[in-house]
Symmetry: C2
């Protein structure tokens, strides 16, 4: 009888402890798989080990919630970048509307070539031509007009291979990493070479990342008043931040002011961001997505037999640096059970 | 007896309802005064009415939590700016250390004048001289070195009039507004003409505002490697954002990407930020702190009999615009019960 009472008390104490753990979120994470689209392997294990080490109270690598910053490149890391960046497609698609507003451009290069629809000729446009197209389609309008143009395009444009909206082209395993990190108290940021204003239009709905947590290539704006005296901002062709390569840690300092604890990329453009992240004290996670799955997505990069690529260049030198410095290379082919949310 | 039971039940139901309301935070705000250092008056009423209108579910002016952004100028709005900005004192105080590191500067102007300690001569330094001092004390070092220099200064420097650390010179009524807005789901940002990197050093401890929510005048940084191959960022004398006047809404777009619902300032430098804020749809709050209390702080600005000031210029034109467009002018003398937390 005495034993029985003791036993009941023990059960009760255990239950209270379990319920407290459940309430604190610790046990939930341990029980359900936060990364169901990942195969068990070193990449998945590294992410989970990092989160546990930095968020478990009493861990020697514990990071206070305010300092939990994780940064993600977008093109090729969070969504498809091949055969061409979505934003470049947007700029080309906008040319007819730009010419409609300024008909004199119809006979001016490079607009004439873009209007011709001749893909081979378009592919041969020079860097200078491309810059003219970017300037004409990304600047000169009000911030609100640009947001509305991008929204409209996203609602109708489709990725050529999958015949789906571009915002469907995000990688499900990376969406899970974003959610897992946020559930673990991390503030998730996009740090992209793409246009800051462009990505901010859809980052909330697509990634759960608000506009103020998108760092990207950014031009200046100019404050002014419309004919009714109402103030507005015009997008200017004046580069403030080229958020690529060394520009990524520089952009992180400008916009966040803290060093990330985790950073994810997929190309040489992310090298300095990952170096900067890893150089901090404590546990830091640096990961690179390797596109080695021609069947389910694309294959390019430094691993055996993969071709080089101008879009999302991932050199052998970066691969070697990653291996040497303890960064984790994610194999899309081997580490990801599925790539897109729309897959069966 | 029956009545008594009913009465008890009624009491019980009421208590449960009250406890639920307490738990949800609604009743706490209604019962306890969120702005105890404010006198009852139009300014205090405007703040409370704005928060209720934008955060009460079902209100026609309800704002979703993600969009609740409030921006605050710092100098003269959150803390004392007279007789001279704290950051300028920092720069002057740093000159001896700069000269120690580069002894050849000791005989070069304007450093020689600053080292002389001759206040009248220092006060007469030209804008160009001041720029040289800012460049020498705010750039050229690593981001971490700068943070450590500012921290050390803040730990020892004292405001000349009150003989207290500069971080004690914040206005208690504005601290209450910051806390009240945050408790109501608002994200609070500093939007300052002062140095972004400077303010970020103490914004967390002083205002509860993390570095990523400080927008300020910002220079570029340069990514590089030290002799051990460790990457670091050097502060450069290259202006990216002059966060004053039109630069304030431009900076808000760059760093936040959303229009604020509430903005607080105290000078002509805040005019465009307040105009931009007020131009948004729905309920928007624009407030200006008027320094009209020579006894407890300083008196300058457009109200009757107050002198103009070069530091924190508040012109009659801005005052008239505020009155015309429904901005609220806060009288330090009449609206604030106390100014500093250290007052008895």
């Amino acid at each position: 009888m005495k034993l029985c009472r003791r036993y009941r008390r023990l059960l009760l104490v255990t239950m209270v402890a379990v319920m407290a753990s459940l309430a604190s979120g610790e046990v939930v994470l341990a029980q359900s798989d936060p990364l169901p689209s990942w195969n068990d392997g070193p990449a998945k294990q590294a992410i989970i080990a990092f989160v546990r080490a930095t968020t478990t109270k009493g861990s020697p690598k514990f990071v206070t919630p305010a300092e939990r910053i994780a940064t993600f490149d977008q093109d090729g890391t969070l969504w498809v970048e091949h055969p061409i960046y979505a934003q470049v497609v947007y700029c080309l698609d906008r040319v007819p509307a730009v010419v409609k507003a300024k008909p004199e451009l119809a006979k001016v290069e490079p607009f004439q070539t873009v209007l011709s629809g001749n893909r081979q000729a378009i592919a041969k446009l020079s860097m200078k031509d491309l810059e003219k197209i970017l300037a004409a389609t990304l600047t000169g309008m009000s911030v609100e007009q640009f947001q509305s143009d991008v929204k409209q395009w996203l609602d109708t444009a489709k990725n050529a291979r999958w015949k789906r909206p571009y915002t469907d082209m995000t990688y499900q395993p990376m969406q899970e990493v974003l959610r897992y990190l946020r559930a673990s108290g991390y503030k998730t940021y996009i740090v992209t070479g793409g246009g800051q204003d462009f990505v901010r239009v859809y980052s909330g709905a697509t990634y759960g990342i608000p506009p103020e947590q998108v760092v990207g290539t950014a031009g200046g704006t100019k404050f002014g008043y419309d004919r009714n005296g109402r103030p507005f901002l015009t997008k200017e062709p004046r580069l403030l931040l080229n958020d690529d390569k060394a520009g990524k840690p520089e952009g992180i300092h400008l916009m966040i002011g803290r060093r990330p604890y985790a950073a994810f990329g997929n190309s040489d453009g992310d090298r300095q961001m990952l170096e900067y992240t890893k150089a901090g004290a404590g546990d830091r996670l640096a990961m690179l997505v390797l596109h080695d799955d021609a069947k389910r997505e694309y294959a390019y990069g430094p691993a055996d037999g993969l071709p080089d690529s101008k879009i999302g260049t991932f050199t052998k030198a970066l691969y070697d640096e990653a291996k040497k410095d303890g960064w984790i290379v994610i194999s899309m082919k081997n580490d990801w059970k599925r790539i897109f949310a729309f897959e069966p």
